[in-house]
Amino acid sequence: MSQDFRLDNVGMVNREKKISFKFNGKKYFGFEGDTIASALIANGVHLVGRSFKYHRPRGFFGVGVDEPYAILQLDRNNERDPNIRATEQEIFEGLEVKSVNCWPSVNFDIGAINNFLKMFFPAGFYYKTFMWPPSFWYKIYEPFIRMAAGFGEASIKHDKERYEHKYEYCDLLITGSGPSGLASAYAAAKNGARVILAEDKPRFGGSLLTSDVNIGNQTGVEWTEKIIAELKSMPNVTVKNRSQVFGYYDHNMLVMSERISDHLPKTQKYLPKQRLWYIRANEVLISSGSIERPLVFGNNDTPGVMLSSAAKEYMKVYGVLVGKKPLIFTNNDSGYETAIEFKKNGVNPIILDTRSNPSSDIITEAKNLNIEIRFSYVVVAAKGYKKVKSADIAKISDDKKELFNIENIECDCICVSGFWTPSIHLASQSGNKSKFNEKIDAFVPDKSKQKENTIGSANGIFTLEETIKDAFDKGFDVSNKITEKNNKVSVPTVVEKKSTDHDKFWCVPLPKGKSYKRFLDFQNDVAVSDIELALREGFRSIEHVKRYTTLGMATDQGKTSNLNGLQLVSDIENKVVPQVGHTTFRPPYTPVSIGAIVGREVGKHSKPTRKSPMHSWHEKNNAVFVDAGVWLRPRYYKQGNEGLFEASKREAKNVRQNVGVCDVTTLGKIDVKGPDAAEFLNRVYTNAWLKLPVGKARYGVMLREDGIVMDDGTTTRISENHYHMTTTTAQAANVLSHLEYYLQLVWPELNVNVVSTTEQWAGAAIAGPNSRKLLMKLFPNLDVSNEGLPFMGYKEADLFGVPAKIYRISFSGELAYEINVESDNGYFMWEKIMEVGKEFQIQPYGTEALSTLRIEMGHVAGSELDGRTIPYDASLEGLVSKKKDFIGKRSLNRSAFTSTDREKLVGVVPIDKTTSIPEGSYIVKDPKAKLPNPKLGHVSASCWSVEYDNPFSLAIIKDGKNMIGQKLFAMSPLKNKTIPVEIVSSHYVDPEGKRVRS
C-alpha cells in the first residue's frame, strides 16, 4: 500500500473498495469515491501537467469545477475524452488518464524551454511575434500555433457513447446543495412545490461536508443526510447529484448536464453517458456557493500551492493530506480552519496571516492548539520546480509596500486563502446586473431580470446562521407564490464559530532585485506583469485587457482569476473595482461535452426519416436510395453491375419506349375545402381557377409576395367545394404554412380549410406509351380512352377491391397517369401494377430517371425554381393571368422584373454531343476572357437525353429567348472544364406536347 498521504479513518471514501487506475501508464490505487486528484495526492503525486504557454509544471489547485491546472485526457472504451478535470472525475477500475500539453512526458517536457524564452511571450505575443514575414504564416506560424494550442486531443472517431436529452418542468429549481440549497429545497418542498435540487458533485452538502458547525443539534454532515433522505422520499422532489446547471437562458429555461456513467467502469448497455436536462422552472434559487480566491506571490503556480479550502476538503472528504509540512497563507479566518484540520490529523502547520492583529473565536482556537501563527507575514515566493520545497517568507509593513526579514522556511505545500468570491455566473447569465459589495471585495447579484433569487454565499452571505435563515425564508416565499399552502417549517438553530473581517490585501510586492512571475490566471499563464504591460500599451476597457492578455479565457473561465485581475487593473488605474466592471459571464459555466449537446440526434437520427408505404418493395428490388428532404426515395433500381448512369438511362428509356412506374408518395398533398376554395386558389395561383370543372386537374404556379416563384404543382377539383392540391416534395411544409397564413391572417373572410394529406395517400406515377394499356387492365370497368379520361382528367375507380383515384397528369412528358390509394393500400397497389404491367415491359424508375425525363421535356423543378426566378425566367409567363390579382402579382411590375434581357430558361447541348456539362457551370461567350469572365447564366440541371442519346442540360441565361442557336461555352472552374455548347430550346423532346395528350 503506497498511499503515503492517506489518513486513517478520516473521510468519506469507501475503504472497503480498492480501485486501481493508470496515470501516464503507471498503476496507482485509490478507493471508491476518490477523484483522480484525491487518489493521486494520496499517492504523493502532484505533478500532473504543464501550463499552456510556458509549460511550467502544474499540480492541483482546487478540488472542484474551479480547477485551472489538472486537466487530463481520459481513455475509455477506446475513446478519448479531453479536457477532464482531475478534481471532478471519479476513479473507476481500469481508468486510464494521461497528462496533456507536454512532450515527451510530464516530467521531462521539451516545451518548458518556453519558460526560459518568456521574454518572447509577453501579453498579446501572438499579435506581435508571428506577424512578419507574411509568407511565414501558412507554412510555419500557423502549424506551430496549432501544434502548441489546446489541452489534449479530441477523438476523430465516431463517439459510440449514448447521450440523452430530457425536458422537465418544475416550480422551483435549486442549483447547489450546500446549506442554502438544502434549506430552501426543504422549505419549498414542505410547502408543496415541485422542486428539483441539482448538485454538481457526487456528494450533497457543499460546505457542510467540511465545516465544523452544528445545525439543529446535528453536525453539518448529519443534517445534510437527514434532509437529503427526506427530500428523496417526497414525490414532489427530484434530487440529482453529479449534475451541473451550466446555463441560464430566456424565460427561466435552464440547462443541466448530468454525468450518469462517467464514473462507472464501462458503459452499461442501457445507461447513457450523460444526460442534458432542459428545465423550465417557475422560479430559480441560485445556491451555487463561492470559490476561494488565491493570493498572488512569486511562483504561486508551483505544484503544491493550492487553495486552503481545497486542502481542507481533501482531508475531510477524501482522507488525504496535500502535504506534511503545510504553510497556510491567508488574509482571513478561512485559512485557520484548514490549519486546525491539519493539526487534528497530527500535522503541524504554520499560519502566515497578512493581518497585523486580528482576533476571533477561530484564531483563539488555533492559538490554543499551539499552531504557529505569524501575523503581518506573507509568502514572497514559492521555491522548488516540480513541487514546493520551501518558501521565502517576509514580514510586511503596515502599508503593505515594504518587505522585511526575508527568510526561507521549509514546507511541502502552501495553502492560500484570499477570501471568497461568490459564484454569480448563473445570475449574471439570467440578465442580473451585479453590484459590487465593498465588504467582501466581490460582485454579488443585484436586481433580478427573470424569476431568480440568489441565496447563501453566492449572494455574499458568509455566516451559516444568516444563510440558513435566509434560505428557509426564500424557499418558503417563492414556493408559496406558487402553491399558496402557507406551510412554513421552523428554522433549526445554528451553532458556528464567529469569524472576523478579512484583509483587503491580496498581491505580495516583489522584493528588490527579484522578478518572480506572479500568476493571476493559472490556466492561460497570465501574470501580473502581463496585465501591467497591457495597461502600459494603452488597453483600458476590461473587456479589451481580457482579450489581449487572455485573462480568464481558459476552460475554467477565470473562476479563480477574474477578481484578482480586476483588482490589479483598478489598483494600477487608481480606480475602484466597480468602476472597472467585470467581463460578461456566458454559458456554459463548466465545459459541456459536444455529445451531450447533440444528444441522440446523431447520424441517421439527426433528422426524421420518412419512408413511403412501398419502401420495403424498393428495398427488396435493389433500389439505391437518395435523401429527398427527410424522405428516402429510390434513386435507381440496380440491375447486375449497373451504376447510376446505366441504370437511370435504362429506366428512362423504358418509360419513353414502354411504361415505367415511379413512387410519387412524397409529393406534398393538401386538401383545400370550403365554399370559397375556388376563390382562394385563384388568389394563390398565378393562373385562373374559377372555371375549373369538377373532375379536372390544372397545373398552377404560386408566387411569394416578392414575385419569386414559390412552388408549382397540379390541383384537382374533386367535388364542388373540394380540391386536391399537390406541391413539390421539398416545399410541402412551406406551402401549407403559406396557405394558412393567408387564410388566418389576410383573408379570414374566406370560408376555406386546408390540411396536409401527404401521408394519407400513396402515389404511383405510370408513364409511357403503354400506360393506357396497363390502365385498362388495372381498371377493366373504367373508360380510360382519350375521351373517357382526357389529359388533366380525374376519375375515381376500384383497383382490385381497393378505392383509387386516377389523375391523368404527367411530369415525364409521356402519356401518364398518377394513381393514389390510401397509404395502407400502397404496397398492394404497387405490387398489382408490377404484376399486371409485366406484359407491357414495365420497370420501376427512380428519381434520376425522373429527372432525365423532365429535363428533356424542359419541365422546371427545384433547380430552376431556386428562389431567384420569376415566372418569366422559368418560361412560365404563359400561366400568369393578366386579368386577375394574385399573391405577388404587383411585384412583377418592378423594373428589374420587366427588363427584357432577364435570364431565361434554355436548353444546352454540347457541340461534340458526348461531353456532359457539370451542373452549376457558367455559360460564357469567350472562355479566354479576362477574369472575372462575364457570366451569361448558369446550367441548372443536366442529364443524358435518352431520346437523342447525347447530353442535354437546362440553363438560365441572359436574354435566353434570343440566344437560341448561338454557340457559347459552358465553363466549370470547379471541374476544370470548358465545353463548347449550342443553345437550343428548353423543350428538347416533343416540343408540341403531343404525347401527353395522345
Binding site: 432542459y278 423550465r280 416578392d706 388566418q744 391572417l745 379570414p748 404587383r890 411585384s891 411590375n893
Partner: protein, 89 residues
C-alpha cells in the same frame, strides 16, 4: 428558449413555433391601385424596433394557428399573446 402562451394551446416552448415577422404589416387589398413605394414598403420595409414589438408566430408543431405575440425585442419579455383575428389592445 422563449416560453410562448399560445392562445389556443397554453404555454409552449419556442421550439414548437416558427417566427413570422412584424404583425402590424397589412397586405394591400387585392386589385387596388397602389404606388410602387407603397408596395415596396409592404414587401420589403420592416421596422426593427428595440423594445415592444407585435409579431407573428406560427404554432407549427402544435395547433398550426398563426398568433400575435407582443414581445420586447431587447429583454424577450412577452406581454400578451393574441389569436390571429383578436383585437389588439
Amino acid at each position: 428558449m422563449l416560453y410562448i402562451n399560445c392562445p389556443h394551446c397554453g404555454l409552449r416552448s419556442q421550439n414548437e413555433f416558427a417566427y413570422g415577422g412584424d404583425a402590424t404589416v397589412k397586405r394591400p387589398e387585392l386589385n387596388k391601385e397602389i404606388s410602387d413605394q407603397e408596395w415596396d414598403n409592404f414587401v420589403y420595409l420592416r421596422k426593427s424596433p428595440r423594445g415592444k414589438h407585435l409579431e407573428l408566430w406560427h404554432h407549427i408543431s402544435g395547433c398550426r394557428q398563426w398568433i400575435k405575440v407582443e414581445r420586447d425585442t431587447s429583454t424577450h419579455e412577452i406581454f400578451k399573446t393574441y389569436k390571429a383575428n383578436e383585437a389588439i389592445e
